[in-house]
Every structure is written in C-alpha cells, then in structure tokens.
Symmetry: C2
Subunit: 364 residues, 2 copies
Amino acid sequence: MSNPSLLILPGDGIGPEVMTEVVKIIDWFGAKRGIAFDVSTDLVGGAAYDKHGTPLHDDTMARAQEVDAVLLGAVGGPRYDDLDFSVKPERGLLRLRKEMDLFANLRPAQCFDALADFSSLKKDIVAGLDIMIVRELTSGVYFGEPRGIFKEGNERVGINTQRYTESEIDRIARAAFELARKRGNKVCSMEKANVMESGILWREVVQKVHDEDYADVELSHMYADNGAMQLVRAPKQFDVIVTDNLFGDVLSDCAAMLTGSLGMLPSASLGAPMANGRPKAMYEPVHGSAPDITGQGKANPIACILSFAMALRYSFDLGDEATRVEKAVEKVLADGLRTADLLGHEGETPISTTEMGDAIVAAL
Amino acid sequence: MSNPSLLILPGDGIGPEVMTEVVKIIDWFGAKRGIAFDVSTDLVGGAAYDKHGTPLHDDTMARAQEVDAVLLGAVGGPRYDDLDFSVKPERGLLRLRKEMDLFANLRPAQCFDALADFSSLKKDIVAGLDIMIVRELTSGVYFGEPRGIFKEGNERVGINTQRYTESEIDRIARAAFELARKRGNKVCSMEKANVMESGILWREVVQKVHDEDYADVELSHMYADNGAMQLVRAPKQFDVIVTDNLFGDVLSDCAAMLTGSLGMLPSASLGAPMANGRPKAMYEPVHGSAPDITGQGKANPIACILSFAMALRYSFDLGDEATRVEKAVEKVLADGLRTADLLGHEGETPISTTEMGDAIVAAL
Ligand SMILES: CC(C)[C@H](C(=O)O)[C@@H](O)C(=O)O
Ligand SMILES: CC(C)[C@H](C(=O)O)[C@@H](O)C(=O)O
C-alpha cells in the first residue's frame, strides 16, 4: 500500500515560512514514527498568479482532488489588491473549497492556559475556552447566483445571493451534531431567522435533523447578532456553534480573537468521504498571509502546525499522534517560548519561526 | 407655532417600562425648560399584533410619517415566536425603517467610566471607548428581492438577496463622513470586497465620495471578518465605522457588548430631511424586549433615556439639552446607582427601573 498523500500549498506572505516548519513535523513522523506521507508542493494565490496568471492552476486543482489531504498556508497580499476580482488570490482558495466540496469548516477557538493573559478579555472569561465553530463553507452568499455589478437605469447595483438548500443545511447540521457528541454534546445554531427566509429554512432543517437523529444532543438557536454579543460576553457558554458561510466567517474570526492568539488557531475544511473512506480535506491556519511581517522570521508557525495535527486526526484517524503534536505545542508554551506575536510582557525576547518549529520537533 | 411632535411606541417586553421613565424626562423638559412636545402613543410589535393582527397598523405607520420623531421601546418575545414571518413583531420595526426610509442607523458604542469594570474586556482595552457605528438600515439583504423559501426539484431552497445601488451607498457614506467631521475625523468602512461584488461596489463608492467631497476625513477599508477581530482586539483604533445592514447588525452588537453594558446604549435611525428641515427619525435602545425580566422593575431605562437625548440632538438641534441628559446619567452612575444589569460586585443592591428614572430626573 502506498503512503497517504499530502499536497502542500504554502501560498503567499508568511505561508511559505510557517509551512517550512510543518514539513519538519511531517519529516519527524516519517523518521521517528514510521508514519510517512507522499508530499508534493505547488502554488496557490498570488504565487500561482505570478507564475501562471491564475490563482489556482488547473493541474493543481486536479492534484488537490486526488490527494488524501491538502495543507494550505495563506493567500493574498497588497501586491494583488488591484487585480481583477476573478484572479485575486482569494479566488484560488475559494475554488479549492468549492470544487472539492469542502462544506464543513471546523474552526476551534481554544484558549491555551499559558496564553490566557494574552487575550483582550478578562482572564476568567476566556481561561479554558474551547469552542468549535462549524461553518458551512461551499454555499450561501459566497457562491449564490445571480451575483455581480449590474447597470440599472443610470446607476450601478451590486448584487449577491444568499441561498441554502435543505440538503446543504442538513449535511452541515449533521457534521456539527457528530462533533458535539465527541465534545460537550451541545450545539448552538446561529442565523437571522427573524429577518431572512434563508435563516428560517436553516433553523427548521437544523431542528429536524436534531429531532430525527440527534435528540441526545442539546440544541439551541440564536440570532447571529446576539451570537456575536454572547461570544464577547460569555464565550464559555458555547460548545459547538453551527452557522452559515458568511456569519461563520465573521463569528469565527470574532471567536478566534477572544483567545488573543490568532497565530495559534488551526482549521479543517472537510467534504464527503472519498473511495478510500477518508474525507476530502484541506487544512489551514486561521491567520492570513501577514504581509507586514513576511520574510522577517517573526511568523508563528503554531497555527499551521496545529492544522497538520487536525489532518492527523480527521484525515488519517491518528488521534493519538494529533494529541502528541498538540501536547508538544503546549509544552513549548509552558516552557515560555514565544514568537513575536505572543509577547505579553516587557523584557521578553521572541524566538524566530524556525526556532519555534525546532522546539516543537524537539518536544515531540 | 405648534410644539414638535413625538410618537411613542413602547412595544413589547420591557419596552413600556423603560418608556415610562423617558416620559418623565420629556415632562421635565416641558415643565422646567419650556421645551414642550406634543406626545402621542401607539402600539408596535407583538402588542400591535395582539390588538390588530398586524405588528404595525396602517394608522400608526401614517402617524409615524407625520411626526417629528418616533421613540420606540422594543419589540418581540417568545409568545410571538411561532407567528408567521409576515406578522412577526420584527416586521413592524422593519416596516417603520423602510417606509420612513431611515437609511442611517447611528449606534454609539461608548464605555462609561463608572462602568468600565463591567466589560468582559480588560479595562485598558475599553476605558474611554467611543465608537460610532453607522449602519445602512433600509437596503441590503434585509430588503432585497427575490427572497423566500422556494421549491427546487424535490427540495426547498431559502433565498435572500444582498443588493446595494450606488446612490444607497453614496448617502450612507456621506452620513458617516459628516459625523466623523464632528468627532475624530476618521472613518473605517467594512465589507467583504474580497468575496462579494456588492462589497466591491460598496468600497468603490465610499472611496469616491471620500475623494470628491471628504478628502479631509481619514478613510480606511477593512474586511468585515477582520473588523470583528479588530473590535475585540483593539476597539479604540476606531472612530466612525460605516457598514451595510447585515454586517452592521452583527458588528454593532459586538461593539455594544464590548462596553459591557447593553442597557446603556441608545441608537438613532435617520432619513432624509422633511419639509420642516428635520430628518425623518426614530430613536430606540439597542437592547431588546428582554422577556426574562419583563414586569419585574429590573429593566435599565438608561438606553431608552439616552435615545431620547439623541432625539434632542439630531431631531431638535438641542445639543446642549442632550448633553444635559447625558451628564445626568453620568452623575447617577458616578453616585453608584445601579439597576440589576449593572451590578458588578457582591453586596451591591440594585435600584428599580422607576428609581433609576427618578434619580436621573433629579440629576437634571
Ligand atoms: C480569504 C477569504 C476569502 C476567507 C473567507 O472569507 O472565507 C477568509 O476570511 C477565511 O475566513 O478563510
Ligand atoms: C429585531 C431585529 C429585526 C433587528 C435587526 O436585525 O435589525 C435588531 O437586531 C436590530 O439590530 O435592531
């Protein structure tokens, strides 16, 4: 049997820097644990545009469909700001999500003990925080038609369409309930059913899936604006939050920032099972390409490393090995090692991206 | 000349309780300052539905169009949760906004010194916070067509439409720039131009209005997900934030909660000038109808009282009198008076809604 395959797409900005550290972890698993991967690397985002004139080459897309998991760094940067919408770096990412049909975006917002001080929130509000946001990723206003800028009389109008089918809501609800069963057994579903019909259908289908197949899981519904409030007020009331693509984008970033350490947060985007039983999958850090610190050795590789840990867990059923990586990260933090983004106190000296990667390998 | 006219719509839940305290303030201005209003009162939301079978009677709508300003309490409650979408309490509120064309929703997020401790955020992050969120209120996905739940093949699909015309964006941008000039002279515009064409048009028009007529105001653009993050991370970086109806709903609630005291926050919804030069206007607290504490004398009337202060400022050009109300509120807080929602420390005793209203009148 051949090794499981990984496609690495470092992307733009700090993407390549943090991915270099992930490769060290991958290599460690091959050398020390006999868990080897067939790794290939390719371009995405601005890097792909620079070479091919498109943020995702068709060959890369095809390769992404074949591999067991994709690891992505980050896309975008000011150099590409003035590009046409159709070739912006983000389109590469969105195309991967859509064509691989990665409908379930898992975004843990977890507050690491060693870093609880680092949040802008009071320590008792966030210490021990452990939320999983399950964001629908392949539908909604991100992909709905009609969309565009049209002429109407003597002015232009910008149009996007929010749309959700019952089956799209059904499958993301199931993903959330399944996850909740392995965690705190609680799901809160967020929409604006008081204003949007798509929210009414969302609420109805989530409730139906619950009542028919997940009645053991505690389910509540919340309007998304109240959700944003409650995340700030008392985030620990939540276990799993399930929401649509656009609300998920905003609410998961809000939740991420509660932890105070964006450089720490991974994500997984999962689709349907492939022939080998593994889900289509892409893993990426929540942080962006951070052009302001690119190339200075300041980037925190932990979010990307923890994204690989999620790959071990969700794609390769290596939960224990995933935990091993997570524990190694906790250890280096407990030892006081900090990249520049994690400096809280005067007089602390940051370590570099490379040093952080090496320390985590050593802690493994 | 007749007195300026006010239409009071107490609505549901704690709406009537807090509005009773506002009426005391209004009466004080008539008796002590010779500033008299012609006040009429009517039903909205669930209260209107109970009597008329509709959350806003046509006569009430007509009256709202005639008066100088509408004061609204709150709408909604669990009793009405199962009503058809078309007669839900919220529809009354949305109809008022739409038919009065109240396109500019001003939501200050201000942290009161006496209450800085009360936020879930660290004191230094929020002390002195003073943001003005300018939310577009009469367009976007709240009102765009097509909308509804439709049959498609053998399943249903929920559809809403985000749409913005150039002139809709133009007028809300102007409102934001005008406000900024009277404040910190800084506007941050939020959208998802990296994903939504309506966001591209939004960004372009805001920039154009700026360059042509408000080049003296500092303008920046931010993706709405990053906006949510930045609000949590370092809210004091903002002065005026301008954004669309849906992002504004979520982001203004997030910003409101940063202050930790939702019971304190007013809002104004303004439209075009009427024949007498005053803008069409409605004022309401940011908090909802709070069914859990209704009828217990626990509600905080300050948000509603400060909404009346906004009416003095924006509808009646009585800025000094508005400041007088705001100072009275600050005084009672500095004196340590607290309704139940503002209790931070063990051993404090709350005062009632009525006591708070009386204390503010006394402080005037
Ligand atoms: C880069 C952008 C297209 C993307 C999104 O809006 O989904 C990002 O914000 C995210 O959350 O992954
Ligand atoms: C009650 C509801 C319709 C309303 C909205 O979504 O606009 C409320 O959340 C608000 O922000 O005023």
